[in-house]
Symmetry: none
Subunit: 205 residues, 4 copies
DNA sequence: CATGAATGAGTCTTCATTCAT
DNA sequence: AATGAATGAAGACTCATTCAT
């Protein structure tokens, strides 16, 4: 896409950084991480090649910033939804589930980028750092909510299982979109939760 | 005496192909797909650079062959386990679950390779072809077994959920091995199955 | 004023392209087409290796551009000479002959390059495209001029024979420079023309 | 019992050499010299790769042998035709001309190979050696025959012009077969000779 | 003699990074 | 801040040559 303020030759650093990160997301979703060249990113952003190394220290820094932006966007989504007033624990847990499958986070484009990064995670520890604490925070929050809902469950196992379902459905939605759709995935998660908490989540199944 | 062992200058094509595929698995697990250079693979295998393009048409062919080998190894594992005599439907479903978390398939090394390929799947349709029919076959088998166990369940949803759990636990085992261990993952899956089929899987939880 | 001379780090694209084409001509004349590596070309040009694929899409594009440059240089030579004012048909035909053996076009260096390309022409149709229409144009022009000089000749055969003489003398000048010199070749061609048009070309024999 | 036919695992060296040279001619005509790999040659010949370096010292030796075979075939053709009894000087000269455009020597396939070698001649002196003395011999023979036919001509210029016509028509026949055909080329050469020797070659024009 | 797997130097091409303008 | 030409290291791939069988 072409820069919206094409008239200004200079722009605020934050604006440029966001432009570049958005272009990076698009490029990764189309061509993968190794296929994402700085030339391609800057062309996508409608900017000049040299800008990348001006606003980011290196290509690696751009990729890390992109992953961080993605992770933060996701975190903000469920944190905000959970922070609404008047929600009980089950509602809050449901908010986390729904955020997981929210179109803004769970589009094919975004999923492609997520798994592109996951594929590099093993040998790029820095990528893991971007997601680890956010994942941990969400898992612990889920476990706490489970405990609030009912004291008679293995909250840790449920929270871990939720994490598994989130990522597993994401992957299957990415690879087999015809068989795995957002609605079905969310419904399957609520079916699981309803089985664990028979007096909750009935209306969401 | 002249032997045909690995010290011989020439070897059967199948032997060399396996050597190269094994080295590729090791390289991908260590450095990712883009970091897996032919130089690195051949060095890992103790062979010369030119040999790859002799036994495989291209680097891409090597990668595809590697993914196929991985997929076939996995398929053979659960097919064999399921094919044992005297198993009822629940036993067979359990065999699939256990195969999913079997050390040979579910080592950190193998998981790293799986997700390296998944990360490229979006823009390399050929990779998806290698796994799609195997995944479908497993999911349909699971659904059939669920129907055999009980007619009163949403077998398709359970099978889909199982697929989600398999992949999701795999990813979390890869990224957070301290929090997600093979035993726990299998147990969590059986807990899920026990909730769906209360008169089965009790002893596996 | 901004100087675009060779000492500047960056130069106008056309300047660089010409530099690279000139270096290519030199390399081909010295080492043939298959011996003309990009490393050799860029070293000859005093530029860095990567620059070729920046200014040309590929090595093949560089070679095609080189052939086109050669063909165009040749065409411009006889077109210009023929376009001088006050020339009759025989003078114009003589201009074509003289251009064919002009030092700028007919040096050993250039001839070596021409025949290097001719040697590849059979299996590289694109090379033929570069020369075909120029050759045709020259042959048809010659035929037309022959008809203007005299109506009593087989103008097409003469034009075809001229083409044969041009190329044949070129090849022999390249291979046996001691026996075939520019002056002798031109003179032999004029002797042929004088035999066909007895009342013309007498002073050039 | 050891037989010499193609089914035998071993064959006389001369047979193998000829097989390889023929295959080389075919490969060069199809793919040029740089595209003629030993793998391609041996596949074309239906032989194994290792044989080349057994029967020829190197690829270069194979190419030189191929050029020599071509040159010798050509030489034998006009020498034989010229050696027929009862021929006068003009007949002998005509025999040289006809040999030059004989289908066995002047096929598109052979022409492609000739010019492939000519293209490399500049920087591979060894190739020139293969043709130089044969070309010289033919040119001197032509000159001698011209002198026998008539004392009133510039025999050296005519012989040189003939050489030019031979090579020039060859090249144009290779590049523009539609415009330059064997019959027309031979006829044009005889037209030239008839112009030089008005009382000869009239019936060949 | 014959085979074809193995070797590794050489080539084209890509691309992150630099830097003069 | 911004530009984009220039650089050169690194990687995939080719292929003449070798050599164990």
């Amino acid at each position: 896409m072409i820069s919206k303020d094409k008239t200004s030759r200079t722009a605020a650093p934050e604006v440029r950084r966001k432009q570049l990160i958005d272009a990076t997301v698009t490029c990764i979703s189309k061509h993968g991480i190794s296929g994402t060249t700085l030339t391609a990113v800057t062309k996508e952003a409608g900017l000049s090649l040299g800008l990348v190394n001006f606003h980011f220290k290196s290509k690696d820094a751009l990729l890390t910033a992109t992953l961080n932006a993605l992770a933060e966007e996701h975190r903000a989504l469920w944190m905000t939804a959970m922070g609404q007033g008047g929600l009980d624990a089950a509602d809050k847990l449901a908010a986390i589930v729904n955020a997981q499958f929210h179109p803004r986070v769970c589009s094919r484009k975004k999923l492609a980028v997520w798994f592109a990064f996951f594929g590099e995670t093993t040998h790029r520890k820095s990528y893991r750092d971007s997601t680890a604490h956010i994942d941990t925070e969400r898992q612990e929050t889920s476990a706490r909510l489970c405990r609030e809902i009912s004291a008679d469950v293995d909250a840790d196992q449920i929270a871990a299982t939720l994490e598994g379902l989130f990522d597993g459905f994401w992957l299957n939605m990415l690879m087999y979109p015809a068989r795995f759709r957002r609605q079905d995935a969310a419904q399957a998660v609520f079916a699981y939760l309803h089985a664990q908490f028979p007096s909750h989540f009935a209306d969401r199944v």
